[in-house]
């Protein structure tokens, strides 16, 4: 009795061992996965595009009359004072038609100037209005009658008005310069004048950006001679797809990368131009683009006119957002889903996704901060499959 009991014991131990080995061999190894944690924190969505710097308030000085241009002795980067002679043209004799044209140009410049002035006046009053509105809402907000949102709106419209005034004033200056140039051209060709040299003067004090051609030559009226800028400030122009530009509004934060320095620069959108244009993209497709003008918070002196940068316009940002890496997302029919690691197993879970950038996605529902999700889920994964998270580093 004793013996057979012991024998049964031995046999059952062996049998259990064999079965255990077989079962262990047949249970699939856990799938090794990369994983990340769902986090709560700041997140932003940006529109990325390449941009170019340009000098703010750029003046293009053109030839007021057709004639023989003397060699320009100035060089790029030199400073000129307002009214300095920057070019000299010996006008060609004019026929009646050309004279008429010149007069017409002067008239056009004069009317452009008056229009620019009235625009500037209007911008001035809009700004004044926006300022008082902002002050009113600020005081209401202090008493908590107005919402933060309303205050934010008021501030934005004040900023927009200020930007518009700035732009209008700049236009006035440009128109003034145009008019002066046209008048001096007209004077120079006045019959009976002894000194037949037209002196082209700098419309503003500033730095010379570009001289397309310095040699003496024959120029036509209206041909650009010199580009100059009255300030050292630069702005950035980003040519954005019209479908992307509609998401951008003035006042949006812009991060400038790849400009050559180590640290990204910061800026704000000043203006989304109201009119777009057609362009062929690098992919070879025709598309509509819009210029978005960005002011830099602080421009490093090394950054000149016409330099290439990468601009990222922040079109949405949140301080307290639950987000997952987009590489964790996969489509389950129409909805997004992720694999969550629960007790060493992959569990498929549908999630609601809000804003998305190229790294993270905002989680609206289905996930809590601190949960672990599987990155780049492979075909081996299914609901309930055992997984092992690979340690990184």
């Amino acid at each position: 009795m004793q013996k057979s009991k012991r024998r049964i014991l031995i046999y059952s131990v062996i049998a259990i061992a064999v079965v255990a080995i077989v079962v262990m061999a047949l249970i699939p190894d856990p799938v090794i996965v990369d994983a990340a944690t769902v986090e709560r924190g700041p997140m932003r969505v940006t529109v990325n595009e390449k941009g170019e710097t340009r000098a703010k308030d750029r003046f293009t000085v053109t030839a007021p009359v057709a004639g023989e241009l003397r060699r320009i002795e100035l060089r790029e980067g030199m400073e000129v004072g307002q009214g300095d002679v920057i070019a000299q043209i010996e006008p060609l004799p004019l026929d009646a038609r050309q004279r008429q044209e010149l007069t017409a140009r002067a008239d056009a410049a004069a009317s452009a100037l008056s229009e620019a002035r009235s625009l500037a006046d209007r911008a001035q009053s809009t700004l004044a209005l926006a300022q008082s509105e902002r002050r009113r809402i600020e005081s209401l907000a202090r008493e908590e009658i107005a919402s933060d949102e309303a205050l934010e709106r008021a501030r934005t419209s004040e900023q927009t008005a200020r930007n518009e005034l700035e732009a209008a004033r700049s236009r006035v200056r440009t128109a003034q310069a145009e008019l002066e140039a046209a008048r001096s051209g007209l004077l120079a060709v006045e019959p009976g004048r002894s000194n037949r040299i037209v002196e082209v003067r700098a419309p503003v004090e500033g730095e010379i950006l570009r001289i397309p051609e310095r040699s003496a030559r024959v120029v036509q009226a209206g041909e650009p001679l010199i580009q100059l800028s009255d300030s050292h400030e630069i702005e950035i122009v980003v040519e954005m797809l019209s479908t992307e530009a509609v998401k951008v509004s003035s006042g949006d934060l812009v991060i400038i990368d790849e400009w050559g320095g180590d640290e990204p620069l910061r800026g704000t959108v000043r203006l989304v131009e109201p009119s777009g244009f057609r362009k062929i993209s690098a992919l070879g497709i025709e598309e509509q683009r819009v210029n978005v003008v960005v002011d830099l918070a602080e421009a490093p002196p090394a950054l000149g006119d016409g330099y290439r940068v990468e601009a990222r316009v922040v079109i949405w940002s949140g301080q307290d957002v639950v987000h997952v890496p987009i590489s964790a997302l996969f489509r389950k029919a129409e909805t997004w889903a992720v694999f969550v690691v629960e007790d060493g197993k992959a569990v498929a879970r549908e999630v609601g996704i809000g804003h998305q950038n190229d790294v993270q996605a905002e989680v609206l529902s289905g996930l809590d901060p601190g949960e672990t999700v599987i990155l780049h889920p492979s075909n081996d994964l299914a609901d309930g499959v055992r997984v092992e998270v690979r340690s990184r580093g």
Partner: protein, 787 residues
């Protein structure tokens, strides 16, 4: 001798179970050898015969645009036998039924058919019509993959204008046995295909009248290939030559040769191991089989047969076993070899199949088996005949009766009487126990060797397609583009992430070695494509210097810290010595990587983009594909899923066929071995067991004694077999080392479990068969034999 012959016949009938089991092992060894080796040989000869009959060129070169007047000077290079100049261009195709754009490589052919280098084998349809410039002959592989028929139209963007090409024929060329886009690791049969078109039509479309951009040469038998390549380079350099190369670097030949070389391992090394193991098993089994006939040897001698006669008799027995094995194995092997060669030829797109068997090889296989059997029988007979007949007729005297090691330890107290007998038996016949263990261990080991290849394939796919390549779509531009395409791609529907790369064709030189390859410029923060070594570990891309994969480093003979000469083959063609910063042990391809900024510096350009990896929302995949088709800048698109599928259809399937064969043969050998081992134990012990029965032991107790012994032997043999199997796998892995892929030494739990299960199952099966015999054991008969 007539009576001995009759005895032989009776013995065989009597021992039929064992004879069949050993014969099966022999059959497996021989048919494995014949099948795998012959299939490999047929493949090799078919390749050579196809190359020869269709004049596959020896040297290839591409240029931007060279005038025809250059051709005579190429012809005059010493050693050149024949020259063919042509126009080769890649175009974007719109294939009906294919969502993504495909890339077509258009090759010019003469308007009237005549023999030429890289000749076309027209499978269906007709030659192009000189009057119709839109006639094309499509490669069979591409046509089959896309179900193209004669008369179908294919939309193509030819030099910027849309044209409908008409399929008039389906053909094959030795130059494109494998059609691989230069940037891909594997062929994608659906999205890259070769087409042949009239030279005049191509010349007109690409402004190549009186010019060519591609040339192929055959060489005289004694020509110096390197010299010809160098001369050709000199001639084509002013015309934008991108470097001449020989067959070794021709992508289709390389791929086919490497794939066939992959079969060399399963066709030579593996059958050798199998045959060796089979021979060894035959040797063991026959030694023991003859030993159990010890009393008969004595009786025969007593009747006056000479030692020679007796020896011959048992050798005849051994040879009969081998003959039966050969009779099963050889025809089976020959039949199977042809079947497999047919599958392979179809699989490798070889239109020619040279069927042939190597008689030397077959004889060698049979010879090795026979020799193992004869040696086994002879050694046992020699032992038998050396004893005087009277002594030999008695059962073998137990060698010693001192308490053994285990008894002295006092462990016997815990054992039952049958247990004690088992332990004593094993301890006292250590030699035999050792041989049994070794035999079963070998059976276990070939199971491991056979099965582990599946693990290796799984691991390769895991590393390549899950850890390294994680993009959904790879967009390849026809020319390097400016960095702003990154934003343009990001604005396309469904695109969630864009990772651009730059690939530049270069020639690496180090000392006397050189290799054409391309350098991939990678972004440092890439998430969609990672550098992963064979253990699945990620390697970071250093800011300066080159990262080469191990295979390329071996070809060039360089290591970390060495300088390698890089000659860029496009743009300004800079040449520079660059430091090898790191070696990464990748499983596939030959590749070189650099930080994108370091590569831009080398190329003397600002960052530009050759292609980009995209993460795409599957819901918008179709919309995206439609857009990509119409984009002039896009030269091709490949989807990770379809590359994975293509890998499974090519490399994985090829490995799978040979692996399946191995596992099948391994199973048969393992079962035969375990059965024989148990069966012989029964014969050896017949007398003892009968005596025990007479002493009052029950049938069950007797059976437990025999099975207990076998169980212990088997259980000890399994871990030993695992160790041997691991060693053999490591040996084989060393041979699978081609430019296309390397096999990693990965053995999964599944394989261990599989080997364990097969052995345990065959042990149980053998046990059941033997238990039947024990039950029928005729006590009187067994005990009376020696009287």
């Amino acid at each position: 001798m007539r009576s001995l012959d009759r005895k032989l016949f009776r013995d065989i009938l009597h021992l039929r179970g064992q004879v069949i089991a050993v014969a099966l092992v022999v059959a497996c060894g021989i048919s494995m050898l014949v099948t795998m080796w012959s299939a490999y040989q047929m493949l090799l000869r078919s390749q050579q015969s196809y190359y020869a009959s269709h004049r596959f060129a020896h040297v290839f070169a591409h240029a931007r645009r060279a005038p025809e007047s250059v051709e005579p000077s190429i012809r005059k290079i010493p050693g050149v036998a024949a020259v063919r100049t042509r126009i080769v261009v890649d175009v974007t195709l719109d294939i009906t039924g294919l969502d993504e754009p495909a890339t077509g490589r258009l090759l010019s052919i003469p308007e009237h058919r005549r023999p030429m280098l890289n000749d076309l084998l027209l499978r269906k349809g007709r030659w192009i019509d000189p009057q119709r410039p839109d006639d094309v002959i499509v490669s069979e592989i591409f046509a089959n993959a896309n179900r193209l028929e004669i008369g179908d139209a294919i939309g193509a963007v030819i030099n910027g204008t849309w044209r409908d090409l008409r399929v008039v024929g389906v053909g094959l060329s030795p130059e494109y046995v494998y059609e691989i886009r230069p940037t891909d690791l594997f062929p994608d049969r659906k999205r890259f295909g070769v087409m042949w078109m009239s030279r005049e039509a191509l010349a007109a479309a690409w402004d190549m009248k009186g010019a060519f951009n591609d040339v192929t040469l055959t060489l005289a038998p004694d020509a110096d290939v390197d010299e010809v390549v160098a001369s050709l380079d000199r001639i084509l350099e002013p015309w934008g030559g991108t470097g001449a190369y020989d067959r070794e670097e021709q992508i289709s030949h390389r791929f086919l040769s490497d794939e066939i070389a992959g079969n060399r391992v399963s066709g030579t090394i593996v059958p050798m191991i199998f045959l060796g193991i089979a021979a060894f098993l035959i040797h063991i089994v026959l030694t023991r089989l003859v030993q159990t006939q010890r009393d008969q040897i004595a009786i025969l001698k007593a009747f006056g047969y000479t030692n020679f006669d007796v020896g011959l008799h048992f050798i005849e027995l051994a040879l009969v076993v081998v003959a039966i094995g050969t009779a099963i194995g050889l025809p089976f092997g020959i039949w199977l070899a042809k079947q497999i060669a047919i599958i392979y030829a179809e699989f490798f797109n070889l239109p020619v199949l040279v069927v042939g068997y190597d008689p030397v090889l077959i004889s060698a296989g049979i010879g090795v088996s026979a020799l193992a059997a004869i040696l086994g029988a002879a050694s046992a007979v020699r032992k038998g005949v050396s004893l005087p007949p009277a002594e030999a007729m008695r059962p073998e005297a137990p060698p010693s009766f001192r308490p053994g090691f285990i008894e002295r330890l006092g462990l016997f107290r815990y054992l039952h009487s049958s247990g004690r007998i088992i332990v004593r038996n094993l301890a006292r016949r250590r030699g035999k126990a050792f041989m049994s263990i070794f035999g079963i261990a070998l059976a276990v080991s070939i199971l491991v060797v056979g099965r582990f290849m599946f693990d290796a394939i799984d691991w390769m796919m895991e590393v390549q397609f899950h850890r390294s390549q994680r993009e959904d779509v790879n967009v390849i531009f026809n020319l390097p583009r400016s960095w702003s395409v990154v934003h343009d791609l990001g604005n396309l529907p469904g695109v969630m992430r864009v990772e651009p790369y730059r690939a530049a064709p270069v020639r690496f030189r180090h000392e006397n070695r050189s290799r054409r390859a391309s350098i991939m410029g990678l972004p440092p923060d890439a998430d969609l494509r990672k550098l992963v070594d064979q253990h699945g570990e990620v390697t970071a891309i250093p800011p300066r210097g080159l990262v080469l994969n191990r295979k390329l480093a071996e070809i060039l003979g360089v290591g970390p810290g060495d300088l390698v000469r890089v000659e860029v083959l496009e743009g300004r063609r800079p040449r520079e010595d660059i430091l090898v910063a790191r070696i990464v042990d990748e499983l596939m391809g030959i590749s070189a990587y650099m930080h994108q900024d370091a590569l831009a510096d080398l190329l003397m350009e600002t960052r530009s983009v050759s292609g980009a990896w995209l993460a795409v929302d599957p819901l918008e995949q179709n919309e995206l594909s439609e857009l990509l088709k119409r984009m002039p800048a896009v030269g091709g698109v490949s989807l990770r899923e379809s590359v994975l599928q293509s890998f499974q259809e090519t490399i994985a399937q090829n490995l799978w066929i040979s692996t399946f064969m191995m596992v099948f043969f391994a199973c048969v050998i393992a079962v035969g071995m375990v059965y024989n081992s148990a069966r012989i134990a029964l014969s050896e012990r017949g007398r003892e067991l009968a005596s025990l029965r007479v002493l009052g032991f029950t049938k069950r107790e007797v059976a437990v004694m025999l099975f207990g012994e076998q169980a212990i032997l088997t259980l000890v043999a399994i871990p030993v077999g695992f160790a041997i199997g691991y060693g053999l796998a490591a040996l084989i892995v060393g041979f699978y080392d081609s430019e296309i892929y390397r096999i990693p030494l990965v053995i999964s739990k599944k394989t261990w479990g599989f080997a364990f299960l097969v052995i345990v199952a065959s042990a149980l099966f053998s046990g059941a068969l033997i238990y039947r015999r024990i039950r029928r054991l005729d006590l009187v008969e067994v005990l009376k034999t020696r009287e």
